[in-house]
Amino acid sequence: MAVFDLALCTLILLAALAAVAGPGLFRAVVFFVVYGVLIALAWVRLGAPDVALAEAAIGAGLTGVLLLGAVGRLSRAGADEPLTSRIDWPVALAAGLVGAMLVWAVLSLAPGPGLAPAVAEILPQTGVENPVTAVLLNLRAWDTLLESVVLLAALIGLWPLARGGAWQAAAGPVHHALPDGVLAGFGRLLPPVALLVGVYLVWAGAYQPGGAFQGGTVLAAAGVLCVMAGLVRAPGMAAPLWRLALVAGPGLFLALGVAGMAFGGFLLFPTALAKGMILAIEMVLTLSIAVTLALMVLGPPEGGGAQ
């Protein structure tokens, strides 16, 4: 298997090189997506399927879609990438120095079990069987609550960029799709399947790989597809229901966290109720994540289909 690992790592480095320094912005982004898929493969090899799912769905998939969309918008705005001809040696030296220090540090660290045994020991008290979910939603729930707010902050940060300041208009550009075209057909077929897969990923996260962020990504993808296919109008922030959908997940998380103080502490989920509380948070969080991610991918309102 060592040959496989070595080959995979070589491919990862080559794809990264093409993404960072290769010619052509579009090509670079395509290589970045390939790179993300290869990294996901590496996570499978490292015995971390939860991370592999997150990397494939979010790191490669969503980030890739965001970047591809930007390539299109930039070329429409006539903003081509400047040609960079030569290597910037001082920067290369500094980056190389950081890399060398990291390689040295990595090689001088002895492997150990870390906190894995400690997590395994208290796992029965957390209400879930997947240790990664236990860390995310119970042991370090404060991180995850803040993380869900980070996602929201990025979306709100896009609003001041809306064309003409009309941040409450429908998100993204206007989409033109033939009403009976292939995309529309695909758009009709996929959402039910995506709904099934998304909900399954959240549900399964309690005892096997999966979780709110991975599930939310699948749902967001289906939503974006529906908008692109012209099946539904892009959501606008003028509608209170959409705004509520954005904050429901972090809001419930925070509210249940504060309610936990009745049991003795902030974000404290008593063992008997933990499973139910965590699942409730995950389900609503998935909805909020899906809406937030879909709005991010669609981009700030560009003045089409204003309500």
């Binding site: 991370v51 990397e55 042991l139």
Partner: protein, 96 residues
């Protein structure tokens, strides 16, 4: 699994170079994501022990991936808006 940790370290160096030296703004966003996944790969590979990866780094990496996506989304939005206003995707060197 040290090979993955070393690969992660090299990705950090490669991405850092692009993040600082590239002039195209979208290219810098790509490079930022390469640095991020390099750091994560290092983290996961260093937590690998006897066939399993420590769940704590795994959870932190998932958090990190979501944070990196959030940053990328804001960056992409700013790059596109900046291009619409200025007609380019470079930052003029107005800094003294």
């Amino acid at each position: 699994m040290t090979v993955y940790a070393v690969t992660g370290a090299l990705l950090v160096a490669l991405g850092l170079y692009g993040l600082i030296a590239a002039r195209g703004l979208l290219r810098r966003v790509v490079a930022f994501n390469v640095v991020g996944s390099g750091v994560f790969l290092m983290f996961g590979a260093l937590g690998w022990y006897e066939g399993h990866t420590d769940p704590v780094p795994q959870a932190l990496i998932i958090t990190g991936i979501v944070v990196a996506l959030s940053a990328s989304a804001l960056a992409v939005g700013l790059v596109v808006a900046h291009a619409r206003v200025s007609g380019g995707q470079v930052l003029e060197d107005d800094a003294p």
